[in-house]
Subunit: 341 residues, 2 copies
Amino acid sequence: MKERVNSKDVAKKAGVSQATVSRVINKYPHIRDTTKEKVLNAINELGFTVDQVARSLNTRKTSTIGLLVGDISNSFFAETSKEIISIARSLGYDVMLSNTDHQSDNLKTSLATLIGKRVDGIIVGSVERFDEQIQTLHDSKFPVILYNTRLASGNCNAVVIDNFKGARIATEHLISLHHKKIAYVTLPLNYSTLYERMEGYKQALADSDIPYDPASVYIGEISTQAIENFIDIIMSSPEKCTAVFAASDQIAIKIMEICKSKKIKVPEDISIIGFDNIDLSRSPFIDLTTISQQHIKMSEIAVHNLVNMIENKDMEEENQNASSVLEPQLIIRGSTKVLDK
Amino acid sequence: MKERVNSKDVAKKAGVSQATVSRVINKYPHIRDTTKEKVLNAINELGFTVDQVARSLNTRKTSTIGLLVGDISNSFFAETSKEIISIARSLGYDVMLSNTDHQSDNLKTSLATLIGKRVDGIIVGSVERFDEQIQTLHDSKFPVILYNTRLASGNCNAVVIDNFKGARIATEHLISLHHKKIAYVTLPLNYSTLYERMEGYKQALADSDIPYDPASVYIGEISTQAIENFIDIIMSSPEKCTAVFAASDQIAIKIMEICKSKKIKVPEDISIIGFDNIDLSRSPFIDLTTISQQHIKMSEIAVHNLVNMIENKDMEEENQNASSVLEPQLIIRGSTKVLDK
DNA sequence: CTGAAAGCGCTAACAC
DNA sequence: GTGTTAGCGCTTTCAG
């Protein structure tokens, strides 16, 4: 069985040295046209393709970046990954994708295998606020960039929106519609994103002199059962909630589903606002008021900055600061309305 | 600046040869415990990790597989990719993901870079029926497996459901509910999947002596405008359609959205059935009757079969037949109902 | 049980 | 312009 053809075979066939073949492949400027042609012909006839593994070994470059997301089946990550892959490709990089299932252990092993495979850089879409592995990686000058979340220390490049502000805007939107009892539903605050949104919610309440009521806040895993219970409570308390702010569109939609099953009308009985502006929230069946993360732009910047870091690795320290903070945007749709008394 | 530490450094530090370090790393059985320990210590102290690129160069194995999908932001691919990545990882493989945007050109270049990077095998989620590139690849004995679609020639391993049967079941379901004018909406039939579904639809009609009416069939790109027009036509013709079979859940949902905007009630005014059973179709806001592709199982089988092909490459030809056909399943939800006359 | 040496397929000085 | 020669960091005979 014939094995793969390599540049040596090409060289022999073309009657030149292996180095010349290499030069042709890499489009070196000064090669006589006739020899270049000989080589190109040999390449075609033999069906030669460069072995990137071998090339990577001495160029110390794989032209591959690692992408770590919490859950690729979550629309937010699916949409951003698509963009990241597409931009990376346009810049000459392939993407190795890992799904961490939001488990710190998986992050660790994924990171290890990506580093082992010598990816040129890594983009991370979900890290817990106090994660040390990413911090260490960044400290070792390895090109990493976070998007969506960031580290509490702030010591790692990240592309995020101003989550604090976004949550404030969301809450203020409800307040401007005369809502006063506003519930908040969030996953645990391990991610900076969620932590900051929580703070923004509190701040907005404080700014309007609305007392913060722990009973109106759910922090935990988002199971149907748990949310049903929570909704029951906030809707039956003496001073019942008239609006809910959900820390993500996914959560908001879950809440809408539960409201539907309980015959609670949105927005008539309760206003709901989400966060992320995933594609689905625009659907007429959902029509969710939300805060846009500008997630497409976010992915775009993340890749560009990462590639920049990779390709200018030797540049000065300060240039390595590739963080950006995008502005959140309120997207008003049909799930929120003025509270009529 | 200190460069990366390699196995030579470890060898020196441990006072052994590089070969021994390699043996330890690869868990060779016969090594004296004391030397093994020395090596392990050196590895830890130096923070050594294997350079997989160098390893791949002489083992001819990258432990990486390529995954090509049409559109990762499409739930079907997002959900299957998640499963594929997870199973691949459990079998020791990383995944390089490419998004083809359903463009044959992108498939071509993606294929080329994946091959160049020496992935051990490739999983393809969307190929056109008559694609030659995949055929060529398969003929060259490179491990490839298709899922979701297959080649018209049938000469490449594929894991699919019986799409013909699925479409027949879907159509028969509507017929069993006394619908007679049943529209069909599909993307162009370049994919085997869509081609076969179309055939199944026709067959079901024929089996019930319902004439096939081209005017009730839309084949083309799914734009809001186009579908709106189509709906207008089928709902206003003298003998108007009372049911629609959509070639995918995504299309079905699009139709539902348009119906909503036109105040056409589902399922009262029109029954709608989809195909795929993506997560969203289960949502109470959608509640779509559909055909399950068993896409999770499909992904699982695809990875297992591919890995099998990779790891038993030298086995007999016949064993390379790793195709499977899964059974479609009708999932009845709220978007279809008996036609009341 | 362990070491020496060759080599995977390519690129990168350094000659000429 | 082009060939020669070393490696990149690892694994793998082949000795001993």
